[in-house]
Amino acid sequence: MSKQTEAERELAALIVENLNLEDVAPADMDPEAPLFGGDLGLDSIDALEIALAVSKHYGFQLRSDNPDNKQIFASLRALSAHIEQHRPQA
């Protein structure tokens, strides 16, 4: 498993907390593993939860009309990169 970056660790914690993933430790999430349909077993409803949590926590919206959604939600790494690229800078 490749190492989590700082931003990925923060996002992993947010996901685990918001989805009540009881048997997953944020640090154990493989940043390159698929978020959906893989070991984590997340689904599209979880995507909605993640989007809501991201908008609250980072202050920007993941949008339905983004043609790259499939890519963005592919892994923790991809999602984190997208967030870091688009979140409003403090």
Binding site: S44, I45, L48, L52, S64
Partner: protein, 319 residues
């Protein structure tokens, strides 16, 4: 084993829809309705699986073996509603008598501005709901339609009712985008309509009692409602015969108070309650039932959906 409903022809395809549309709009409803008799006979004799499904359903709903006459009536009722869709899309309420019951429940939900989720079914005419939605501009109606799976229906919608067509959420996108789009619609205070009685192969289903035997219902629509924390209103567009329709709204649940931990458990309760309500209407209005396939045993083959509940199709069974 009979072929699954999704593998059956899309109720006619482009040519049949064009034909219906042309005859209907050129000649008017009374003339077009005459054509329904030969169509009914054609379906009865040529579409064995649908005929058997009708008999199976009616036998359960009526509590005694369905007669040929009852099956013909069932098919004729389906044909009538299908024809009326054209008129409703093209001309709205004109020419129909539309009774509405329980509209206050819908108003209450919409007035809060949190959006509302309308749970429908393949029982009766959902188009009747669209007629009503033309009266309510402030809370547009949003539906999910898989544009790739039902190109003929999509083309019809876009040709006859472009305003509705524009507001269709395309179910063919990746699941995350569909769900996000529904979330955005709800946040804008829109009405989101889903049909919660059919599922797909890759969708988590729950088997609950329905007309004497367990049948599988999708859990995705309910999980979605729970995630959006919006009021859920049941909606049934009953065809009463002739030119009469009745829209019934019933308050169902407000998911706002639902604790996150108990969500998936609560959803099981919702599915049961919904199935019970649908059963009751299936008994009082049996000829409105439009799931022309073996509703109780075909679920392992469910592979698609045409209007509504394809949402959350990748939903797993995570507790």
């Amino acid at each position: 084993m009979s072929a699954h409903w999704r593998q059956r022809p899309e109720g006619g395809g482009f040519f049949a829809l064009w034909l219906i549309r042309t005859i209907a709009l050129r000649c008017g409803r009374p003339a077009a309705r005459v054509v329904l008799y030969p169509i009914t006979l054609y379906f009865f004799f040529r579409r064995g699986p649908e005929r058997r499904a009708s008999r199976q359903f009616l036998t359960r709903a009526l509590g005694q073996r369905a007669t040929v006459w009852q099956i013909l009536r069932h098919i004729h009722s389906f044909a009538s509603i299908t024809l009326d869709r054209v008129f409703m899309l093209a001309r709205g309420e004109r020419g129909f008598r539309l009774e509405v019951e329980g509209l206050d429940y819908l108003h209450d939900a919409i007035d809060e501005g949190r959006g509302a989720m309308l749970m429908g079914s393949h029982h009766g005419s959902f188009e009747a709901l669209r007629m009503l939605s033309q009266r309510y501009q402030k809370a547009p109606l949003r539906i999910v339609l898989n544009k790739q799976q039902t190109p003929a229906m999509t083309a019809l919608l876009e040709a006859l009712a472009p305003d509705i067509g524009e507001r269709v959420i395309d179910g063919a996108q990746d699941p995350a985008s569909v769900v996000l789009a529904l979330g955005e619609a709800a946040r804008q205070g829109h009405m989101v309509a889903l049909l919660a009685d059919r599922g797909r192969q890759d969708e988590a289903m729950l088997r609950v009692p329905f007309l004497g035997e367990d049948a599988a219902f999708p859990v995705g629509p309910w999980l979605l409602a729970a995630s959006l924390r919006i009021p859920v209103v049941l909606c049934f567009g009953l065809y009463l015969g002739g030119n009469r329709y009745k829209l019934v709204f019933e308050p169902f649940a407000d998911t706002r108070e639902l604790p996150r931990e108990g969500r998936r458990k609560a959803v099981r309760g919702y599915v049961r309650e919904y199935a019970a309500r649908l059963e009751s209407l299936a008994r009082t209005h049996p000829y409105n039932w439009f799931n022309f396939y073996d509703f109780w045993h075909d679920t392992t083959q469910v592979v698609g959906n045409d209007a509504g509940a394809g949402v959350g199709r990748d939903v797993g069974a995570r507790a």
